[in-house]
């Protein structure tokens, strides 16, 4: 299929449809609303379930219900809406049901504003709800990558029976880029062995997040931890650009990753050897490769649209003695390539 011009939010929606999305529940919030709006027509025309809930809290619990029946289901929101969904996410993690969540981040904290931001890094990678669980978190930098990742996210969610979060800033939701859509997947009606589909002629199944016995709850936690360890082994993803002879390594994800790529090109023109390391899986964080690269470069510069959240994972990866610099903007301000270049130059003068 040829490339077509897609708005990020609508591309994410269409890719989810093609991945076999059976039921979508959501609530509008800028800069994510086009995703929901697109599905409101597309899902209904396909005879699938679309429901605009009365709140994010309702939407996430509807998703929980649908996920228990073993169908492909998702919701999407933007930062404050994700905060409202945290209880449901924690319940789903404990229930081990597969679910896909899209977060199109905006400026915060609080109601904040609707401009692009990356300030949900902590929230999606570390604090998506109470208790010991970690969603698999994927961060696209282009519309095509957003399409590919959300399409795959449903497989990953089922493979690990986990929450998969596709996280992007408002830029990626709002911008248009050519993208090729993956093929439409058949929905064949098969359900996983654990799904609640009616206990006619067999014993009933129970999906719950409540476990009153301490030993049994610890056993669940140990199982979740084994699952997280498996995800950490199997799902680490990143992209590198000009890292071979770099002296400065810029580490940035999503939109800041691609803006840093342009800044790195500008740096090379000025004789500064800058490479870019872009984590695609934010959890699991590509720590091992970053540690390896840190041995080859002289300095690391982390660039984010937040106060330095991924920065902590970078520091954990390279150790406390390694020189890691940071440049970030907040409140919905998107650094331009020359802003990042300036930060690179500043680091370069200290070499």
């Amino acid at each position: 299929m040829a490339k077509q011009l897609w708005k990020g939010n609508e591309a994410l929606a269409e890719a989810a449809v093609r991945a076999g999305l059976v039921a979508y529940f959501g609530y509008p919030i800028t800069p994510q609303t086009e995703l929901l709006e697109y599905l409101s027509g597309r899902m209904v025309r396909l005879g699938r379930a679309f429901l605009q809930a009365e709140s994010e809290l309702a939407a996430i619990n509807m998703v929980y219900g649908a996920a228990c029946t073993g169908v492909r289901t998702m919701t999407s929101s933007s930062s404050p809406g994700i905060s409202l969904m945290q209880e449901g996410l924690s319940y789903m993690a404990a229930s081990e049901v597969p679910v896909v969540l899209v977060d199109i981040m905006r400026g915060g904290p609080g109601l904040g504003n609707i401009q692009p931001s990356q300030a949900d890094y902590f929230q999606v990678t570390k604090t998506s709800g109470h208790g010991d669980f970690r969603p698999l978190v994927l961060a696209p930098a282009t519309v095509q990558e957003a399409v590919d990742l959300v399409y795959e996210a449903f497989d990953l969610a089922e493979q690990y029976r986990t929450i998969v979060i596709v996280v992007a800033d408002g830029n990626i939701g709002q911008m248009m880029e050519p993208a090729e859509m993956p093929p439409m997947r058949e929905i064949n009606g098969d359900r996983p062995h654990w799904a609640l589909v009616g206990a006619d002629g067999r014993d009933h199944r129970i999906i719950t997040s409540l476990e009153l016995g301490a030993e049994r709850l610890e056993a669940l936690n140990l199982r979740l931890q084994r699952k997280i360890a498996r995800v950490k082994r199997e799902q680490v993803r990143w992209k590198e650009d000009k890292t071979d002879d770099a002296e400065i390594l810029v580490v940035a994800f999503g939109t800041m990753g691609r803006i840093s790529t342009t800044a790195a090109e500008m740096a090379w023109e000025k004789g500064i050897r800058a490479g870019v390391f872009r984590p695609i899986s934010l959890f699991p964080f590509p720590a091992a490769r970053l540690e390896e690269l840190s041995q080859r470069v002289k300095r690391i510069l982390v660039v984010e649209m937040n106060a330095g959240q991924m920065l902590e994972d970078v520091k954990l990866a390279v150790g406390k003695d390694y020189p890691v610099e940071f440049y970030g903007r907040m409140g919905g301000i998107v650094p331009l390539p020359d802003d990042v270049l300036e930060a690179v130059e500043r680091v370069h003068t200290e070499l």
Binding site: P31, M175, R258, L336
Partner: protein
């Protein structure tokens, strides 16, 4: 080669759509493209602006500090992009609405009375196509025919009746732009 073009005006003037037509045409011609709006809590009459990047290679940043070309539909846009345009860049000015004078001498300014031309040709709402035509004359990122084809191919069914009038206006804008440039 990589070029950045900003289309900027009030909401409702069609700046975002003009940018989309360029984006579609460039994509269909095989270029890498990005289209990114500056979006905010705006309503009709607020700022409407988009940045289009057309490139032979994969595009890194979809946003720029100093665009190569700016198409300005109104005074606030003129003030901003006369300042921000890169040296040697091209400024396409909707002279029907802009009375801020051109002050920089290191840029090429093309003045086209977009509203007036569009109104004369039947509908002031086609101002954006006058200006897009003039822009393509000044900076031929895609052939005029490619922009025409983009209108035919990418306008939805319910708007197909608008394609031909818009193409006529687009061509007129292109001629205006060419004449202005040769003056």
């Amino acid at each position: 080669m990589q070029r950045s073009v900003v289309f900027s005006g009030f909401g409702g003037q069609g700046a975002l759509f003009a940018g989309q037509v360029l984006t579609y045409a460039a994509m269909d011609a095989g270029h890498h493209v990005t289209w990114i709006p500056s979006y905010g809590p705006e309503m009709r009459g607020g700022v409407a602006r988009c940045t289009v990047i057309v490139s032979d290679d994969e595009i890194g940043s979809p946003v720029v500090r100093h665009p190569d070309v700016a198409v300005v539909f109104n005074n606030p846009s003129m003030e901003k992009f006369q300042r921000e345009l890169r040296s040697g860049g091209k400024l396409i000015v909707n002279s029907s609405m802009v009375n801020v004078p051109v002050e920089r001498d290191d840029i090429t300014a093309i003045l086209v009375p977009g509203n007036q031309v569009a109104a004369e040709m039947g509908d002031v709402r086609m101002t954006n196509m006058v200006l897009l035509g003039a822009m393509l004359a000044a900076e031929p990122l895609v052939e005029l025919e490619a922009a025409e084809q983009a209108l035919r191919d990418h306008l939805p069914e319910r708007k197909q009746h608008l394609v031909e009038p818009n193409i006529v206006v687009l061509r007129r804008g292109f001629r205006n732009g060419t004449q202005e440039q040769n003056r």
